[in-house]
């Protein structure tokens, strides 16, 4: 599983990253996490509001910080 956190590196992106790591830990899942802060790359994925969460190349949320429960839910669906 491949996860991307999109955002220029503001506080919200950091929070989303932490929540994602927590969700993975809770589920006992293993995934590679990539932080994407390049604007062109973010825009190429169609995202206009950051932070955004991408699981296996699919944008699952943008413009808000998901809590670890929501992320866990999305991870199980992926």
């Amino acid at each position: 599983m491949h996860i991307k956190i999109l955002g220029p590196g503001c506080k919200k992106c950091q929070l989303l990253l932490e929540n994602t790591q927590q969700a993975l830990a809770t589920l006992g899942m293993d995934a590679s996490i990539e932080k994407v802060s390049d604007y062109a790359a973010i825009a190429a994925l169609g995202v206009m509001s950051t932070p955004a969460l991408v699981i296996n190349e699919r944008v699952v949320a943008s413009g808000r910080v998901l809590d670890s429960q929501e992320i866990a839910h999305l991870l199980l669906q992926a």
Binding site: P8, A43, A44, L45, G46, M48, S49, S62, G63, V65
Partner: protein
């Protein structure tokens, strides 16, 4: 109409709070309200509490409304429009779409690469930080409803005209090449439940309060100082009604400042109380919110100097004109 006035006084202006703080100053601290210390303490405590209460309630409600207008949706709405109607809609949607300077770049790329004209994108970019529902209600709370509505109307007019002028200038070649390299994907708008929206609204309140509390304290502190410590003559000599340079000076001082409208309102309130023209004060507030150094630096990453300069000039000139206009016609509003 009387019950509306009462609601306005108690809920928005919070006269009850002003009375409570007055009691605190007079009975507990034993200070005279007419004294400098008593007066500025009252201004500080009352304003800080009032702004924080209004801010929390407003951000909560507004974020909930905004969760219905993600930029993806705005882009889709704007994509089907042309000309003046597109500019006006862009400016209006700018008031309800959630905006933070850190996502202005992906937003700009997303709009431009999907084929929206520069005119519409800039109408949106001008109105988005300048006019929002929270600033309108706070203006109504500190001044009155006619001023709040006038502020919104001139803000929208500036956004529509500014965007149109930029469109006329045909500056597409001054957009950085990488912006239009990828055609933006059209993401489906997320389906959020009511619980999701409320959680988002709560997060926004916490996040915005964390970001702006210091600006508010500084703003109210400056306001309290202006209110009671700086002589009125000094202020009117510097930025009084009779000086032609008051409005441009207020605008230029405001431009590099990076603060929230919530921090500038108490300063505005104190300046108007000292007899500074309403237009001068509004020009300062608009300059602080619409343009800031960090925002311009961000924008520089996606547009080249000539376009950035045009955008900057149009907004500065527009704000200055609005300032003169308000100074001239303030008697109709106050």
């Amino acid at each position: 109409m009387d019950s509306f006035a009462w609601l306005n006084d108690q809920l928005l202006r919070m006269n009850w709070l002003s009375d409570l703080v007055r009691l605190l100053i007079e009975k507990v601290f034993g200070l005279d309200m007419a004294s400098r210390l008593g007066g500025s303490l009252h201004f500080f405590i009352y304003d800080v509490i009032k702004i924080f209460i209004l801010l929390s309630v407003l951000i909560f409600v507004i974020s909930w409304v905004q969760s219905y207008f993600p930029p993806e949706r705005t882009r889709r709405i704007l994509g089907g429009m042309r000309g003046f109607r597109a500019n006006l809609t862009g400016a209006l949607l700018g008031t309800v779409t959630p905006f933070c300077s850190c996502s202005s770049i992906p937003l700009f790329i997303g709009f431009t690469s999907s084929g929206l004209p520069l005119a519409v994108t800039f109408s949106f970019l001008i109105s988005s930080p300048l006019v929002d529902l929270a600033s309108m209600i706070l203006l109504a709370s500190i001044f009155n409803w006619s001023i709040a509505l006038a502020y919104v109307v001139v803000g929208i007019v500036l956004a529509v005209l500014g965007g149109s002028l930029i469109g006329r200038a045909r500056m597409e070649r001054y957009v950085e090449a990488f912006v239009t390299q990828h055609r933006a994907l059209d993401l489906p708008v997320e389906q959020l439940t009511l619980a999701d929206r409320l959680r988002y609204a709560r997060q926004q309140v916490a996040e915005i309060i964390q970001r702006v509390w210091l600006y508010i304290l500084i703003g109210v502190g400056i306001g309290a100082a202006i209110h009671n410590w700086i002589p009125a003559e000094l202020i009117s000599d510097l930025i009084g009604q009779n000086n032609w340079w008051s409005v441009p000076l207020a605008t230029l001082v405001g431009v590099p400042m990076y603060a929230d409208i919530f921090g500038t309102l108490p300063i505005a309130e104190a300046l108007v109380a000292k007899g500074v023209g309403l237009g001068t004060v509004l020009a300062f507030m608009m300059a602080v919110t619409a343009l800031s150094l960090p925002a311009l630096i961000m924008l520089k990453k996606v547009v080249k100097a000539p376009l950035l300069a045009l955008f900057f000039t149009i907004v500065v000139v527009g704000i200055t004109l609005i300032g003169y206009l308000f100074n001239h016609f303030a008697y109709l509003l106050l």
